[in-house]
């Protein structure tokens, strides 16, 4: 029989570790935005095949089946993105939905990055950056919950990116990110470092 010994020293240690970090509404919005986006881009069959790959019984035969299935999934999801683009996207996943089908292959290794900006008085906000050719119409942001922060998700390949927000027509740096020093278009911008998933 193991007796659990919790004395004063262990109590103090546990209390020191129990301090809660403060609530972070912007982090919450980022998580929700990312969850929505990933669901929009992940095909359920891909998850099943990913599970196969992790099993010890993985073999050449299953690898061949996986390769074939990947081709099929790529074709199906490409069509799905194309269909989404022709609809009327109104969520934070718009950046993904706006991807042309032809770009799906090129973006396969891109990472979904949630963007959040607290600009309550703004009427239109979009994300611009080297990942969308600084096109102010490519990635419009949506108000979270009607009157909350602005959110959107961009797809960016691993590496260093420069971006900004277009707030009512004015280029604005992200207050939560490091400033870019190599801006050559006459406004402030921020740096985004994307790591491999």
């Amino acid at each position: 029989m193991i007796v659990e010994e919790r004395d004063e020293l262990i109590d103090r240690a546990a209390r020191a570790l129990a301090a809660l970090p403060p609530a972070d509404p912007l982090a919450v919005m980022q998580i929700v935005s990312l969850a929505r986006t990933r669901r929009g881009t992940r095909h359920p069959l891909a998850a099943r095949f990913a599970g196969w790959m992790r099993t010890p019984s993985f073999s050449l035969a299953s690898a061949t089946m996986f390769a074939a299935a990947t081709l099929v999934i790529g074709f199906v999801s490409g069509n799905a993105v194309e269909r989404a683009a022709s609809g009327s996207p109104a969520s934070a996943t718009r950046a993904v939905e706006l991807m042309p089908a032809a770009d799906v292959g090129a973006a396969a290794r891109a990472v979904a990055v949630p963007m959040v900006l607290d600009a309550r008085s703004a009427t239109t906000v979009s994300v611009v950056g080297d990942f969308n050719n600084w096109d102010a119409t490519a990635t419009p942001m949506q108000r979270f919950g009607g009157d909350g922060p602005w959110t959107a998700t961009v797809l960016a390949k691993p590496g260093r990116h420069v971006y900004a927000f277009m707030v009512d027509g004015v280029l604005t740096a992200d207050p939560r990110a490091p400033k870019a020093r190599d801006v050559d278009y006459g406004g402030e911008a921020s740096v985004l470092m994307v790591t491999k998933p």
Partner: protein, 180 residues
């Protein structure tokens, strides 16, 4: 209040987005605390928490109506932390076999003491084997019952009690040295 109203995960399960936001708001600080204590690194912890909630969102259809939400969430989070630790271990091995043995020049735990108590506890905590650290945190910091910890980790009750006891013994021995 440590647990969320059980109706909220069920609402999220049936597709209610507001319920999912309530869950993230409610559990974010606790999840971040657990991941920071497990991983000892803010950036890895934030990534693990983000990943865990994304998986929760995707996996809601598999959440059983009669199940409790806390162990289910912490099981997913603990898995993400283990994956993150495995990734860091691989990265560390690459550094150790590379040109600069960065880990070798890091100060020994004893030399790092002198900061505040919480920092000292964290340094000692990091020296525990991951499964002992995980069991200790779930039991004494997250206040989960052994039955819930068994659901989170998949380990048996007596093995878990042994892990917690060993963690307490090791922490006590090292923290007593610090206090002297």
């Amino acid at each position: 209040m440590n647990e969320i109203d059980p109706a909220i995960p069920l609402r999220a399960r049936s597709g209610d987005e507001k319920a999912f936001i309530e869950i993230v708001e409610f559990y974010y600080p606790r999840c971040l605390r657990f991941a920071r204590n497990m991983l000892g690194n803010d950036q890895d912890a934030e990534e693990a928490v983000q990943d865990a909630f994304t998986r929760v969102y995707d996996s809601f259809p598999r959440f059983r109506e009669d199940a409790r939400f806390d162990p289910w969430l912490f099981r997913i989070l603990a898995n993400r932390c283990r994956t993150s630790m495995a990734r860091s271990r691989r990265h560390r091995q690459m550094i150790e076999y590379g040109e600069l043995p960065l880990m070798a020049v890091a100060a020994a735990p004893e030399e790092e003491f002198g900061a505040d108590w919480a920092e000292e506890v964290r340094v000692v905590l990091e020296t525990l084997p991951p499964e002992q650290r995980e069991a200790f945190l779930l039991r004494h910091v997250e206040d989960l019952s052994y039955e819930d910890i068994a659901a989170v980790t998949g380990a048996g009750l007596s093995a878990l009690r042994m892990r917690v006891k060993r963690a307490c013994d090791a922490l006590r021995a090292r923290l007593e040295k610090v206090e002297r």
